[in-house]
Structure formats: structure tokens, C-alpha cells
């Protein structure tokens, strides 16, 4: 990638979806999930090796998770932007854009690629190819979005509707965005998939820093005023160099809003690049097994396990032997002195445990 291309990786997360493996101080992106012994964040970073160097990468995360994050990424991504609190993606991406602006040579207009730390991308080659095209689109002043070619009528994602094609040199397929559609009903999702004109919005964005900052200043002026003021007070204009308490008081005033709602749905500059790259948002235990489960019984096991007559079972243990007999469609997780058992169909509800533990003040399990 050219020297003016930077990558920011959103690595927040409350650590509730993969409890008890994920915790507040060790959210899922810091866990080894799937078929790697590395954390998802490390895998995300290694996908950039030889593509974008470590000194042009940064991670945006919650300050409670900054230390655990840094322990994993000291060499592969030294710069960590520690948010005092989660204020949704508009604030996080504004923070990163301002940091990149301050890092880049004065007067330049660097490119920013925004990734997520907890995505599975099977086809790194396709991923890199589409990013190169997206950079070309971004250089035209566009807000480029990767649109994932849907494999099924998923009702848990937002969709991007493809508009008119944009003729940009060296780019195979890029179109204007006709509309953004929130999580659809199954019937609607089925029509989307059938049409061939709708793509999953994976939250993967590529833009020039000046483009997104300009849009943010237009659509989210209060947030940008606060952040610009903080920048003016920061050493070399870098928000990462501000004292934590200063950034905290700035952050407290920022609007909690997603970049999608704040900017993308309003901007006329959005463009979508359809891509099939084996993308998965591994949002909970059920998605994990459907992504990585193997063999005739489609079980997925990590650690010391003994399974008899089990089907579609996920077992993840950080030490204790887990012995299962005759169970199906079940998730069993042993981590940090807690054991969690639920049917795969209810894996989305695991956060109920976290809520209950919070309510009863049992911090040792959070």
C-alpha cells in the first residue's frame, strides 16, 4: 500500500457475547476463537503484514482493555487509542481520523481504512485486492464501503443497496449507495439476496481523512467541535498524547451515535464495493461453530475434551477436562473458573449471565 494509507482497527467490545471466555477486560477480540491459537485481533493484524506496516496501524479500544490489548500487539501495532468510555463508532472513528491527520505529513490528505478486530476473513487475497480498489475510490473523495456478498438471508445485519455504477479507473465494481437498510425481516432479506443488489454492511470503510472529517463536521458539529478543541490542546495535535483525564472530559460530551446513522445515511459520497472474501462476523458461540465446526458431527472443541455421541456441540475449555455424552446443539464453555452451558440456539442470550453478575456485584466473573 502507498505510504499515505493508514489502518485503524476498532477493538472495543463489552465482553458479554462470549462469556465466560470473554470478559470486560478481555473482550472477544482478545480471545483465541475459531481455528487459530492467536486472538482475533492478532489475526486481524497479521492479515495486514506486508501490506500496511505496523507504524501506520492503530487500535481504538476502551481504556479498560488497553493494557491487555497492548500486551498482544506491542510489536504489530504499537499505537493504541484508549477511549475513556464507549461513545459508539462516530466518536471512535473521528478520534482515529484526527490522529491520522496529525501523524501524516502536514498538508497531506492520508487514506484511512477502518477494520474490526473481531471479523473472520478467509480470503486474504480478495480482501487486499478490494482494499486496493477501495483506496482508489477513496482518492476520488468517496466514502467507500465494502459490501459483503450475502450467502444467506441474514436478518441480523444491515444491508447496503447498490445504486448506479461509478466508473473509476482500475476498479472492477463500484457503485453509488442507493440506500442503507436496517436489519430486515426474513422475507425481506430473502428478496434482498435474490435481487443481487443488496450487500451486508460489515462496517468496513475506506476514506480520505479530509473527506470523513468534513462530513463529520457537517453532520455532527458538536462532537467535532469538542474533539477539534481537544486536538488543539494536544501535543502535536495528537489526541493519543492527551492526559487521560483531559480526553475523558472531552469524551463525556460526545454524542453516542454510530457512524452509519451520523454520516453514512446522510452523505452523498458513499460508494459500495461488493466483495466475496469469506467474511464472518463471529458474534456469538453459535456463529463460531457454524464457521469453524468440523467433521461429520460438526462439533467444535478447544482444549481438553472427551466427547461421546455428540453432535453440533461447541466445547471450549481453558484447562479442566470437559466430558460430554449424548448431547446435541449445546455450547459448553469453561474459562476463568466459570462454566457456561446453553443450547446453541440461545447462545445470543449469554449476556444475561453478565447482567446478573453485574447486578449481584460478582466482579470476579466479569
Amino acid at each position: 500500500m502507498p505510504q499515505d494509507v493508514y489502518v485503524s482497527i476498532l477493538a472495543g467490545g463489552s465482553g458479554t457475547r462470549f462469556w465466560p471466555k470473554s470478559r470486560h477486560k478481555r473482550p472477544k477480540q482478545l480471545c483465541a476463537l475459531g481455528d487459530s491459537k492467536k486472538s482475533m485481533l492478532e489475526v486481524t493484524l497479521s492479515r495486514l503484514d506486508g501490506f500496511v506496516p505496523a507504524e501506520r496501524r492503530m487500535i481504538v479500544t476502551h481504556r479498560d482493555q488497553a493494557e491487555a490489548t497492548a500486551a498482544l500487539t506491542r510489536d504489530t501495532c504499537p499505537l493504541i487509542l484508549a477511549e475513556p468510555e464507549a461513545r459508539n463508532t462516530a466518536a471512535a472513528l473521528a478520534l482515529a481520523a484526527l490522529e491520522i491527520k496529525a501523524m501524516a505529513p502536514k498538508g497531506s490528505n492520508p487514506i484511512m481504512i477502518s477494520l474490526h478486530a473481531d471479523h473472520v476473513i478467509r480470503d486474504t487475497h480478495a480482501f487486499r485486492r478490494v482494499l486496493q480498489e477501495a483506496v482508489a475510490v477513496a482518492r476520488e473523495g468517496k466514502i467507500a464501503l465494502l459490501g459483503i456478498v450475502p450467502t444467506h438471508p441474514e436478518t441480523g445485519f444491515g444491508y447496503i443497496e447498490q445504486g448506479n455504477p461509478l466508473p473509476i479507473k482500475g476498479v472492477m465494481s463500484v457503485s453509488q449507495v442507493a440506500s442503507f437498510r436496517e436489519k430486515p425481516a426474513l422475507e425481506v432479506a430473502t428478496q434482498y439476496v435474490k435481487s443481487g443488489r443488496f450487500f451486508w454492511n460489515a462496517g468496513l470503510f475506506i476514506w480520505q481523512v479530509d473527506t470523513i472529517l468534513s462530513e463529520l463536521r457537517q453532520f455532527l458539529p458538536d462532537t467535532m467541535k469538542a474533539l477539534d478543541a481537544a486536538c488543539a490542546a494536544a501535543p502535536e495535535g495528537r489526541l493519543s498524547q492527551l492526559p487521560a483525564s483531559t480526553l475523558a472530559s472531552t469524551y463525556a460530551s460526545l454524542k453516542k451515535i454510530s457512524i452509519d446513522v451520523a454520516v453514512l445515511e446522510k452523505s452523498t459520497r458513499t460508494a459500495v464495493l461488493p466483495i466475496d472474501m469469506g467474511w464472518k462476523d463471529v458474534g456469538s458461540w453459535d456463529a463460531l461453530r457454524s464457521t469453524f465446526g468440523k467433521g461429520g458431527n460438526a462439533n467444535l472443541t478447544f482444549g481438553d475434551t472427551m466427547l461421546f455421541d455428540c453432535e453440533r456441540v461447541t466445547v471450549d475449555t481453558d484447562g479442566p477436562l470437559v466430558a460430554c455424552l449424548g448431547v446435541k446443539d449445546l455450547v459448553v464453555v469453561v474459562s476463568g473458573g466459570a462454566v457456561m452451558v446453553c443450547p446453541e440456539s440461545r447462545a445470543q442470550e449469554v449476556k444475561r449471565f453478565v447482567e446478573e453478575l453485574q447486578a449481584s456485584g460478582r466482579k470476579e466473573y466479569l
Copy 2:
């Protein structure tokens, strides 16, 4: 109870049915199962408090389990007969009968009550009352058996068929035994229950020591010859005082046979006392929950648990928090660094894990 009444408690067990809570060195009778914090053995002993004193009690167990047993029963039952190997109940009861004979005043004919360490008996009052009657029956030279009034057509137990009544003073109901019936088919068991003449054989026996020794010498002469020879060589005739290696070489020659097959099915002296005393043989996890499960959802939990939307679930943990959501008819056991999960309907198969662990030499979990 009169001073010539002794109790022996059979407390063997391989520790496979309640794995991973039960282990080879900590079989189920040493585990706190059910609604008590005490082990089943301790509960069995406490049922005798104020009835038969500690000095007239003894426990028969495998020598591998003797130390763990003694640690629990030092005050409540100091005498432990440690079998070098399990040779079934005829050998174990002969051992106990000979020990009692040697302990009792010379020329006396003491009474022996044989209990099991892993039975639940809800109605201690009824239990004691029937034992008092059974002692009276035993004094008539009978081999008295408690016959449990069946609550359902259980196919996992043997049945005792009631014969002609025996008129014995002070005993409400005692009859000759017409026949012993092995584990019946469901249809047959249903007829048994309907008839009112069949009772569960719980292995609870009351006899004079001379009676059972005489029957054993008649029906199992080789075993008794070997044990009598060992007695002759033992200090004060007490097999408990023999060196372990001496008893081991004697034991190696004993026939592996149950007292039922060796003696009871052949003897003409058997008598049955029907009793309804809330008796349960808690043989595996499923039986445990059906015995002790409480509340509308009939869950049974021990230790630190968090259950949402669970029904008929058994959870037993020795420390780690166990969080279950949306599961039914499931058993989850956490003990000694192992986690076991299986449907309640397959709880009988838990020993498969033990077999697999033995085969793979993973002694830490046995």
C-alpha cells in the same frame, strides 16, 4: 437396641456412577449427595445415633477407600474392615460376621444388621421400628430381609415374593420368602406391584451371626474354610487385626458371589418384613434428581450456580460457578478439575468416561 446387636455397613463402590464427583478413592458413599452436606456414609451412620453405639458398628470397604472413609468416621465408626479386593457381598458379609463373632462375648450369638452406605432412607422412625422387629425375627433363627414396598414398577431391582405369614410375637408383619425374582421386565414388574405380594430387595439383612455363618458354611464351604483358617491365625480371631498381606492371600481364593445367590436363594430360613420408609437407592445422577429435585422446575443444584429457564437440570459444582441457560433434562457436574455434561436419560452411561480415562492412563481424573 440390646447390647448384642451389631451393625455392619457395606461401603464399597468403584466410583464410576457419579463421576467426576465420585472417584476410585472417593466413591459415592463418601460424597455429599442429596440434600445433606454430609456424605451418604455419614448420614447412614447418623441414622444409628442413639440406636446402636459406635463401638458396635463397622464399615466394610475396599482398602483403597479405607483412609478416606476413616477420615470421615473416626468418631462415629472407628472399626473399618478393609477388603484387599472386592469379592462381592458373600465374602464381605462373611468377613463382618466373623469379626462380630470374635468381638462379642464368648459363647454368645450376637445379632448382625447389614446396611448399605449409599441408601437414602427418609423415615428413620419407620426404619428403626422395622429393625427392632427384624431383630426379634432374627432371634428365631431366621434370615430377616427388609422388603421395600414398591412405589413403581422398577425394572432395575430384584424382588422378594412374600410367602406364608410367620407368627412372631411383637412383629406386625413378617412372612416366609416364597421366591426371589431377578430384575423383571416392565410388564412383570407392573404385575408385581399390583399384586401387593412383591417387595424390592434392598440388600438389608438382619440375622444372628451363628445363623448366617452356618448357612455360609453349608452353601459356600470353600470360602468359609479359607476365612475360618485366617480367623484361627488372627489375633483374638479378628480378621481386622490380620496383616494386610495375609488377608490379601486369603481373599484371592474367595469365590466372587453375592450373598443372594450364595445363600438367600437356597436357604429355607429367609423371612421378609415389608416396610415403607422412604427408601431410595441413589445409583446415578438421574436417581438423585428424581429423589431430591425441588420446585416447579424440579432442578437440583449444589454449589455456586446460576440457572435461567432450566428444567429438570442437575448441577453439582465443587467451586467453579456453573451458569446454565435454557437447558432441560441435563446433568452438569464439576468436580476435581473435570466437567461432565450429559442428558439425564443417559446418566447411567457416565462410566464410559471412566473406562476411557482408564484406557488412556489419565489417572488424575480417576
